[in-house]
Amino acid sequence: MSMTRNTLLALVLLMASAMPALAASEADYKTAFAAAETAEKQADQLRNKWTTTEAHLAAAKKAASSGDFDAATAAAKEAEALAKASIFQATSEKERWKDLEIH
């Protein structure tokens, strides 16, 4: 009995290690990319897009087109984070620009 249990456990561990851990699916990528695009559109409305956000969006698309959804999802999430930072910057600068003014 003990032998059977150990064998079962070994099989489970073997299967688990053979499967890619937390692999991103195409659906994961699409969700992450949509979120990034939404944030970037908001940054665009504020006239404050960053080149790095655009680069990560392009990298996400490229990785997705080659089927690498891990890399695509990671790039899309990075793009979303950067777009949100640019929104924060544009929003806070609406008043803070005056702090730098010469007078």
């Binding site: 937390l22 080149t51 544009a90 007078h103």
Partner: protein, 288 residues
């Protein structure tokens, strides 16, 4: 999954924004728009910061800040790199359009010696009109295709027009139209607003750090920074207009540049030119 780098880059960007705002919070902000007071304060800031620099020398940008660079520039001016563009611009300026008219028909005084009056606020349009914009409008009004705003033909034409104004003091007017004041204020806001992943405003380099090095370059003071435009820039390996300068500055801060001659850039040019009133036109210029 690259969760950690994502969090780090976002956190770094937010931290930069927060730090920059804390660092600058020592300066109070005015509530009223007063261009004349701004221009006075602008001049005082730079002349106090660089008491040894002659007033009219600020238009020479980095050369006014560094003696070694000035010597190199003076030698270069014997055979200036903008000379070809200047000659081409003169030729283009005099060549009639297909309808027989020329650029001279579109501008006061035939376009000669008028650079110091640009940009101006057009009360009919309710917007700022730059020299580059006026040149393309002239072309279109005469059935010609507009030029690229950033280099080549536009740089040559503006180089020639600037040359005919060399030494004349910048003379930008803000009429009593509230929209003109608003355009000026928008330009000022653009100048001081931090943007791009590097969280830099125009003022970060050209007010806080003129004379300092950023990589191999010596930063120019904002005071009179447009007076030598257009410029031959070694970094560009060619000529560039004011539009090109704004676009490349934005890119360097990792901000997506706006379209050349967007309202924001036109207003920025209006602000920067107004606060340089009295300083001589020195274009075309050459920069590293």
């Amino acid at each position: 999954m690259r969760v950690r780098p994502i969090l780090l880059s976002a956190a770094a960007a937010l931290a930069m924004a927060a730090l920059a705002s804390i660092a600058a919070s020592a300066i109070a902000a005015p509530d009223q728009v007063d261009p004349a007071a701004d221009a006075k304060a602008f001049k005082k800031y730079f002349t106090d910061k660089f008491p040894k620099v002659k007033l009219e020398d600020f238009v020479n940008g980095p050369y006014s800040m560094n003696e070694d660079m000035r010597k190199q520039w003076q030698e270069k001016e014997e055979f200036p790199p903008y000379e070809f563009a200047l000659e081409a611009g003169k030729e283009m300026f005099g060549k009639p359009f297909k309808n027989g008219k020329t650029y001279a028909d579109c501008f006061p005084n035939g376009g000669i010696g008028i650079r110091q009056n640009y940009p101006y606020f057009d009360e009919k349009e309710g917007k700022v009109v730059t020299l580059e914009l006026a040149l393309n409008r002239c072309r279109e009004a005469n059935g010609e295709q507009p030029y690229s705003y950033v280099k080549d033909e536009m740089a040559s034409l503006t180089a020639y027009m600037a040359y005919t104004s060399r030494g004349k003091p910048m003379d930008i007017k803000i009429p009593g139209d509230p929209r003109a004041l608003e355009a000026y204020e928008n330009g000022k806001r653009y100048f001081y607003t931090r943007r791009g992943q590097l969280n830099f405003s125009c003022a970060t380099c050209h007010v806080q750090s003129p004379g300092e090095r950023i990589r191999a370059e010596i930063l120019a003071p904002a005071y009179g920074i447009l007076n030598a435009m257009p410029i031959y820039r070694s970094e560009w390996n060619g000529m560039g207009t004011i539009s090109r300068r704004f676009v490349s500055c934005n890119s360097q801060t990792r901000a997506v540049p706006l379209e050349p001659q967007s309202d924001e850039y036109r207003d920025l040019e209006y602000f920067l030119s107004y606060v340089a009133n009295g300083l001589p036109i020195a274009g075309p210029g050459a920069r590293p």
